[in-house]
Symmetry: D2
Subunit: 495 residues, 4 copies
Amino acid sequence: MALATLFNQPTFNHRIGLLGNDKLQEECGVFGIFGHVDSAVHTALGLHALQHRGQEATGIVSYDGEEFRAHRAVGLVGDVFSQPDVMRRLKGQAAIGHNRYPTTGEPMLRNVQPLYADLGFGGLAIAHNGNLTNALSLRRELTHHGSIFQSTTDTEVIIHLMATGHGGVTDRLIKAARSLYGGYALVALTKDTLYGMRDPYGVRPLILGKLDQSYILASETCALDIIGADYIRDVEPGEIIFIGQDGMDSVHPFPPIPSKPCLFEYIYFARPDSMMGGKSIYETRVNMGRELARECGVPADVVCPVPDSGTPAAIGYAEQANISFDLGIIRNHYVGRTFIEPSDEIRHLGVRLKHNANRGPLSGQRVVLVDDSIVRGTTATKIVQMVREAGAREVHMRIASPPIKYPDYYGIDTPSHQELLAANHSVDEMERYIGVDSLGFISLDGLYRALGAKKRNDQEPQYTDHYFTGDYPIPLIDLTQGGPSAQLSFLKETG
Amino acid sequence: MALATLFNQPTFNHRIGLLGNDKLQEECGVFGIFGHVDSAVHTALGLHALQHRGQEATGIVSYDGEEFRAHRAVGLVGDVFSQPDVMRRLKGQAAIGHNRYPTTGEPMLRNVQPLYADLGFGGLAIAHNGNLTNALSLRRELTHHGSIFQSTTDTEVIIHLMATGHGGVTDRLIKAARSLYGGYALVALTKDTLYGMRDPYGVRPLILGKLDQSYILASETCALDIIGADYIRDVEPGEIIFIGQDGMDSVHPFPPIPSKPCLFEYIYFARPDSMMGGKSIYETRVNMGRELARECGVPADVVCPVPDSGTPAAIGYAEQANISFDLGIIRNHYVGRTFIEPSDEIRHLGVRLKHNANRGPLSGQRVVLVDDSIVRGTTATKIVQMVREAGAREVHMRIASPPIKYPDYYGIDTPSHQELLAANHSVDEMERYIGVDSLGFISLDGLYRALGAKKRNDQEPQYTDHYFTGDYPIPLIDLTQGGPSAQLSFLKETG
Amino acid sequence: MALATLFNQPTFNHRIGLLGNDKLQEECGVFGIFGHVDSAVHTALGLHALQHRGQEATGIVSYDGEEFRAHRAVGLVGDVFSQPDVMRRLKGQAAIGHNRYPTTGEPMLRNVQPLYADLGFGGLAIAHNGNLTNALSLRRELTHHGSIFQSTTDTEVIIHLMATGHGGVTDRLIKAARSLYGGYALVALTKDTLYGMRDPYGVRPLILGKLDQSYILASETCALDIIGADYIRDVEPGEIIFIGQDGMDSVHPFPPIPSKPCLFEYIYFARPDSMMGGKSIYETRVNMGRELARECGVPADVVCPVPDSGTPAAIGYAEQANISFDLGIIRNHYVGRTFIEPSDEIRHLGVRLKHNANRGPLSGQRVVLVDDSIVRGTTATKIVQMVREAGAREVHMRIASPPIKYPDYYGIDTPSHQELLAANHSVDEMERYIGVDSLGFISLDGLYRALGAKKRNDQEPQYTDHYFTGDYPIPLIDLTQGGPSAQLSFLKETG
Amino acid sequence: MALATLFNQPTFNHRIGLLGNDKLQEECGVFGIFGHVDSAVHTALGLHALQHRGQEATGIVSYDGEEFRAHRAVGLVGDVFSQPDVMRRLKGQAAIGHNRYPTTGEPMLRNVQPLYADLGFGGLAIAHNGNLTNALSLRRELTHHGSIFQSTTDTEVIIHLMATGHGGVTDRLIKAARSLYGGYALVALTKDTLYGMRDPYGVRPLILGKLDQSYILASETCALDIIGADYIRDVEPGEIIFIGQDGMDSVHPFPPIPSKPCLFEYIYFARPDSMMGGKSIYETRVNMGRELARECGVPADVVCPVPDSGTPAAIGYAEQANISFDLGIIRNHYVGRTFIEPSDEIRHLGVRLKHNANRGPLSGQRVVLVDDSIVRGTTATKIVQMVREAGAREVHMRIASPPIKYPDYYGIDTPSHQELLAANHSVDEMERYIGVDSLGFISLDGLYRALGAKKRNDQEPQYTDHYFTGDYPIPLIDLTQGGPSAQLSFLKETG
């Protein structure tokens, strides 16, 4: 979703910032199933399990043997697909679905995936997670040759590449894939085949499962659990999977290269109950907490997570440090995406919409707060202040990832370089800014250890860790070729 | 709107039939203005005056010097554009707009015009009235070469032809026009130019007006009256008009051929207060009534229109026959597009939603009912029954157009051949079916006389009158090339 | 609806004024049916036929033998009751319904009738047309004794009077009626009885009809025609009708007094195809036109109605004067209740949203415009200007009612005294204000003649004609007892 | 909310049951503030903090010195009050608000609080939490004397009692209070005073706070934290508080009796970060876990909470038992109130919408699951099955409340006696039904100890514990006086 990322960032930040949302944003979740009589219902359930990967909008396209059927809308999965008759009309034994993260602005509904197009060979639906680093360059070229874009999504770039290609669907998909740079995972559906594909570096995740005789593709294993399906394996980096009446097949059209999965899936994005790359997300996060305690422990009375994302690491830290674990901060889960426009005098209350200090376990104590990451530092600052007002004697903060110094371009919506606290401040400066008695980050090697490695392989890192190191394995093509919007005419649509 | 016409007819008929809507349906109204500070407001007012040409949906695209802005929605002009902030956001000194007639089915919102696309040269918005007879053939060919269609409108065919063309906008428009067959009028807007174009036969209308320094294009002159603009002239058949900062210019890229405006604009579609082809619509309809009285007068006590479309002809008939004119049928103007699903026992009440007999002037009288046309005959049958129940002694019906025997393919939504009463019945049979004491139609020559001609020029008719004669001046390409939907994959979308 | 009238007038005028609505507003239509398996469907059809009496909101309450069921909403009858499942759920063999005219402000939805209450004896639903002149005084007294009001309607006053009464429903209704002053007609439904009642002067209309074995009550006979029911008789002034399993019965609890039906029902409110007081509304209006021609004819070439309300009188005038009748003004029926907020420069276009001059029959002619009434004179002024701009040589205006000099308080929403043109200007002054070559009004006696009387009986007028004469037959109690809102606390509710 | 409870229970259970909601339901949250320029904004924030006490609907009434203003709607606080202009229109320096729990059926919107009425002395708004045990009896009597009810809420009973009373507001409130039986807390607003009141036993909570010069009333202290206000004290059982321009005052109109706060506020309803009766809710729950471990510990490898309500007790249990604490069950917080209607074959997936087993910490382990309570046992059964499927070697369940054997009638929506698992089964039977290796409940005395008492005072229990003991301190009047709906006529309203 490169284009949306590039164009909409400032507005997006402005809107979400209000809510104290100070996290990186995963971009999307995808799901596909082939050969099941209840394909759309299972897709909706799978998307519900993947809701954490995108809450803005959701959609399903099914194929009933004669027609493609779609329902796509802004809203949560449980709301969108519980409208009367919606599921009944999404007939068919194959379906794909998509959850979308909150971007901003007018083109919203047209951007809700899966996208669908009637191509020369028939209908094609695609749902995509990730970001192309050359989406804009490809779009410019396609438009120049007569392609008309309806959305600002990277997904549509892929569809147009396939539309203007030749031969069968698979040939067109392989040929299109050869033009793409970036981190992505996609599912696609034609009349007779469900496709799945993961970028050559395997930056974005995609897994394969099975329910009775039906194959399933999904961003995470928690989408298998919810429907009682079995996990088979991760889709391999650069692999294209085909699922049809005769079962599953796959090709590897790219030359083999060392994979580079995204570390932030392990640190924050994936659900703790998912397995990824053969590892339990929960266990790796508990390990990060243990590493943290070993690397930068501090004498304290109580360890408290910043909920919910800091909880597993806090459990690991408390256990390793043998300090009592308590809920010192309570999270209000009813926070929607919007709230009251505050007058100036109450703007400072913003963060309290989501978190409140729990006086009981904090009062008079030396507190270690554990969180997964620091992005802008605004939330951390306010939470520390709340914890102090609740009577904490000392406040120490420990972070289960290294300082984030560089933006992502492979599918994570990151603030700009100026807004990333660690990009512009030393740890000492951050400590003062946030107002803690001490601040500690896990080391890069510590993080790799938590994931089961001895240490980072500096020659060929086992994961992409560009947000910490600036080491981008995939070229940032659009970024190095000048401003994006100069030659594009966008329609501002209301209503 | 060929595709919609071909695909959706049965459902459409079913839905509208319930309401006793037994009229041909004009397809659309268009409006464009260049160089006025209130361009969108004037467009909305113009579209309101053209509301009779399409009540399903409406849209405006404006250009504010930097961005194209759009608002398109299902609903009446007065409702859609009175939503808060809508007009304020449609900034800019140039705008085009469109009213859409009621079709059916899911793809509705995507079909609301004006359509917009970002082409190689920049943004382009088009609004189109009429029907291409080779839309499907062109669509198939474009899809084969990689174009992706989002709607089922003919308008999108034109946009893709321009997108895949070469050179400047004008060259692309001329080249695209050379591929088109059918009856159509369109307005288009780029960053610097407002375009207007009418098909080479001039089947569909388009007029040129001026308000202060701003040029205006519209389907009918009543759209000029509402904003106090002056009428300049009709756009000529086959003419392409360009309006920019430097004023107006035009080209005639087609070889000159005898024009063939649509007779039904004069009989039924156009508003009575519009001027078309230099004639007052109202006066020509009064003339039709006079011709009717001359050709097939009958002794009677009172002349009553079937309101509202039969009123001018009834006035002409009453005056010519020197019989008292009275409102024997009262129309309920609050009928919306939908109503209660009737149980079987009250289904026969359907037509009464729209019309009621007015006992006063009918009771004991010999009544002449005057209407503009007979399509299926269902409404006529029910009205005659109501008039008899109200006590009329004799009921005679006189129709201000010849029997409709053939479907239209140039922009009018006609029932199929089987449903056209006159296609399958003699006048005697129709008389019995409708239940009148006598039934008379204006003759073809009488109709031409009402329009100011001596008679129809059978070698080269002055108008297209294929619905009466089967004489189609423009080839029906899609129709002669087999079923349309075989190779197209449509998406059924809900919500 | 006294309270709404008193409180909301200025806003109301402001809103509607924009649309060039320069008519008096009838307040409501009512309908009831007992003993029919399709009672709610027939009620919806009847309300549709009465749509001209109120377009803001509509509602039906039915009783299915066990429960009262309701559906009430803002919108037109055809829209509100065509929502899925609505009719299916309004089960039962008895129902009442109501159409509401556009008032303004927040308390809208709570004011939508029929109102329902669970009283000591069981459920009661009431729908009411008209205005009590002592609603506020009664409300104050009831509130003082503990009644809690939910709406600002007069109807709720009646319900509370019944709630705090004693004995059976009929006794309570009679006792309540004895407290009421004003012009009103109401229908009410309990578990076993449909009630109908008309005020002692018969100011507001109510008629009785029958469909098979089912009795029907309705504001006008056109509501019988639409369902094919027979007209029995008008409900008598001061009569209370009871309809139950054992048929119909009625009482006259008031001492007999000379009736005073509202003249404006005949002049403007009722549909032309209705019968009222034994007279055809259409014929009485044609008669008014004939009287006008006799009383104040003028040499001319063409007679044109101001559509639609002036049409019958224009037909009568043209016939009597033997001048050609033509449609010189075309009305756009698509005008909704709201439209674009105009900038100052286009505000003068307002009236053109609804009317346009038809150049053909006007150009170069001496034109007589016929309308039913003049309220503020704003519409007349603008129409005359349009007619002159369309080329009329002379413009004469003839009005089928005497000058309106006094506000109504019996159920018509009238502008204040200052806004009534005739209240503050002589006919000569009005002639100049409107810009006509001559202006003529029917005389009061001429109006009575058109209704079949010899002349007005000045001792005891046959109708209430207070808007012309200031002669109010029913005391204006609230008005003479000071400002209404002083002691009432209203809730301003949004959303 | 007695009436709703009595009438709607079966439907309610059916709907919620699907979601695996197997918890008791707290009925409402209330908030009031006097003397603050941003009173409505602070009320909205306070209601947001109280969102866990009711998610169905919410409303605010403010008084701006001249008018009462209201906004009430179905939805979450953050959604309802973030609609444009809503907060801007809720002007004034005093406001009250209410959160409503999900009931069912048609009368929903009319039941949204605060309720408002124009009484003899002026406007009155009331918001109420709890349940009257004689609501129906009072309603019957009030209706008999002429009161008309618009809702089915207990709150309206209180308003009618005040409306039909005499004297000043305070006198009326005291007199009304003397008629009421049940557990309740209410806030009320007149033109000059904010009232707060708690039932004589103090069953439902209400606390007093202060922000600068403004007094605040709220159901819990977390509503003070969110706006940075200070906690002053709990409102006393039976106390009526008045807050006006001159500050705060209070009366105790009832004879003093031993208080009986609801134990379930401590066990489940209140937010863990609230203080109640001088105790930290979080700490009391951790204590319950410690008691559990002491009373019925079992050898195990890991302690896992059933999130989120079991978490504090699980922390206490793990600490006391010195067993590792881990997140063995992951909760999906995106579950809305509705979801896909499942076909039979996937109905068993229901509970997975909300919870998923986390294989990592469970596989091969002896697991202790800790939850706050067992109601029907359906959720527990499914969670145990999930935990076993995730590889747990042994599964033991420990519950931080005694077995629930009796329904509540003081403001908690409890399933019927037949549906309460513990009402009909021994602990052994429950163990087998749920499928655990062992099942243990805290003892009644253990629960009292966790709250700081030595043990339950059996002569005069310190809390009301009727759900465990059947010992109801307040008489259940309606229940002992026969079926409720016999004499009430309810309106079924759609749309």
